[in-house]
């Protein structure tokens, strides 16, 4: 079935998650940091839909606000990765020669570094904040984007329509923007979705191991960190944030995958 990238279930889900989290101040029933010792450790009830934590703070509100932070950091990281990665790959693919070699081997080297180790070093140097985390995660995700962008632009530049454009008098400077970009846009969209999923995962992981957002502010990862020690008696501390992370990642991956499948089916005809 034809996948319409504007209207689809996974697309709708993404928008829903984004919408809910960004609207946290309006939707959250309680202040996420409000301590109410009386309700501490309560499970899902009518008062606290997702229960309350050890200090009585409402989990649902914390998840909404936490999601806001996770999503914001992840989206910023994705944007940074797209910007850096696409430029990186395009320059390599257009210039070729030693520039291409240098840029791509640098990408390979960056990808060879274990991600958590890299993050550890960076975060210890600059500290974890809403500014530093997107940059660190963005840098981690850009090499794959660079490789994808480079191979896409090299393929397109070898096409007949680019030869035709050059022969028609199109300036070299305009070539990439007006001829090539529209053709690699779907691939970039796929990469964007995959990066978004990876960014959410990375942010949650970093926060979970304590490298991310620090208390009292909490992202989903931090919530899981706070909750996992008490997982046996009060499962809801971990369960709901983990569920949120899982659904978000699945939605982004599904969206990207559907675009990719549509592109592949368009290329190979009956």
């Amino acid at each position: 079935m034809k996948f319409n990238w504007r209207y689809s279930f996974s697309g709708f889900l993404i928008l829903l998650i984004l919408g809910i989290c960004l609207a946290a101040p309006i939707l959250a029933p309680y202040d996420p940091n409000a301590i109410a010792v009386a309700d501490a450790f309560s499970g899902p009830t009518a008062k606290n839909w997702m229960g309350a934590d050890d200090l009585g703070r409402d989990s649902f509100s914390r998840i909404l606000y936490g999601g806001r932070i996770t999503i914001l950091i992840a989206m910023a990281a994705t944007a940074i990765a797209l910007l850096i990665g696409t430029t990186w790959g395009l320059v390599a693919g257009v210039r070729r020669g030693w520039v291409d070699e240098f840029l791509m081997r640098t990408a390979d080297a960056t990808m060879a570094i274990p991600q958590i180790l890299f993050a550890l070093v960076c975060v210890s140097a600059v500290g974890a904040s809403v500014i530093s985390l997107p940059i660190v995660v963005g840098i981690l995700l850009s090499p794959t984007t660079a490789r994808m962008a480079r191979s896409a632009v090299v393929t397109e530049l070898a096409s007949d329509y680019v030869t035709a454009a050059i022969a028609s008098g199109t300036k070299r400077s305009k070539l990439i923007l007006s001829e090539v970009m529209p053709n690699i846009a779907p691939q970039l969209l796929v990469q964007l979705s995959i990066n978004a999923a990876a960014a959410v995962m990375l942010e949650a992981t970093l926060s979970f191991i304590g490298l991310g957002i620090q208390p009292p502010n909490a992202s989903w990862g931090t919530l899981m960190l706070q909750g996992y020690a008490k997982i046996w008696n009060t499962y809801w501390f971990v369960f709901f944030p983990a569920l949120a992370v899982t659904i978000t990642i699945l939605a982004f991956n599904a969206y990207g995958e559907r675009i990719r499948v549509t592109m592949d089916s368009r290329r190979s005809s009956v």
Partner: protein, 322 residues
């Protein structure tokens, strides 16, 4: 002013060498030919003959290793990139694959106006009008303006490519196997169109093809290429009725004709064709019934024999006709 028999473009002693892992390949080996105003030169050859490289070199899309290329009095090697770009207004190309030579994300209107935009001709409205005129000139309709290439047939796409080539009113059009990918009946339509456009606009064509029938129909002059060299050159009758080079005669006899009395044997041989031998003076010698037995074909460099004012060939021992 360009008079009838002036050359509008010339390749002189052009060679193009590619160095690869398996050795050097002479895609073009001392190639010389010229295009005369308003006429069609067909460059005929099989795979590896160098005809596409010759086209690319003429269009400035590739640099020769040696030799010079002149287009409308300008020596390509001496031009800066922007000067070359501006010269492209005069020489356009239509390629083989109808779909891949059009940007699949652009509309027909955008595709045909691309050269107009590149050379800053007119404004949006005047360009649209020009595009519509061009569509009609190639046998398409205004309704095709907003279509995308994948919504059109092969023949229609090729017409769009031709319209694009005509947009900036060039003097020369290079047709690189432009009808080879089309169905027989569509091919006929497009060939008729190309001839009609040529006479109404006074265009000069470089027609590259492996199909002798098409070359015969379209060309005033034919140059036969084999492995980077022009082995025979002449007008239609010279090449088809009085061919001298053994490759040319071999080609002509290998073409199956669509006639009811088609002689059932166009080839006695079934063996694989031998590859050329490195170091032979004549690159065709290994396949040549005459040359394989001759010492001069092996070691004596061959000079061009000018048989008549129009007909020349590169052979020590050409075909003898009684």
């Amino acid at each position: 002013m360009i008079s009838q028999n002036d050359s509008v473009a010339t390749l002189s002693g052009v060679s193009r060498i590619f160095k690869g892992k398996t050795g050097t390949v002479h895609a073009l080996d001392d190639v010389t030919f010229d295009l005369k105003a308003g006429k069609t030169l067909a460059l005929v050859g099989e795979s590896g003959s160098g005809k596409t490289t010759a086209a690319r070199v003429l269009l400035g899309l590739d640099q020769p290793s040696s030799g010079s290329i002149e287009v409308l009095g300008r020596e390509l090697g001496s031009l800066k990139y922007e000067e070359l770009r501006l010269l492209r207004r005069e020489i356009q190309v239509v390629q083989q694959d109808p779909f891949s030579q059009l940007n699949r994300r652009h509309s027909v209107e955008r595709i045909i106006s691309s050269p107009l935009i590149a050379f800053n001709i007119g404004d949006k409205q005047s360009r649209r009008k020009q595009v519509i005129d061009l569509l009609k000139a190639v046998g398409l309709e205004e309704e095709h303006l907003n279509r995308r290439p994948h919504e059109l047939s092969g023949g229609q796409c090729q017409r769009v490519a031709i319209a694009r080539a005509l947009a900036v009113d060039p003097k020369i059009v290079v047709l690189d196997e432009a009808v080879s990918a089309l169905d027989v009946s569509v091919r006929a339509q497009v060939l008729n169109l190309l001839r009609e456009i040529q006479s109404s606009r006074g265009l000069t064509y470089l027609f590259i093809t492996h199909d002798l029938g098409v070359a015969h129909y379209m060309a005033d002059e034919i140059a036969v290429m084999f492995r980077g060299r022009i082995v025979e050159r002449g007008n239609r009758d010279d090449v088809f009725k009085q061919s001298q080079h053994h490759y040319t005669t071999g080609l002509l006899s290998s073409v199956p004709l669509a006639s009811p009395t088609a002689e059932k044997r166009i080839s006695e041989q079934v063996q694989s064709l031998p590859s050329p031998i490195e170091g032979d003076a004549c690159n065709y010698r290994s396949r040549c019934a005459v040359g394989s037995g001759r010492e001069d074909c092996k070691s004596l460099p061959i000079q061009i024999t000018q048989g008549s004012s129009t007909h020349s060939w590169l052979c020590h021992s050409p075909v003898v006709r009684s």
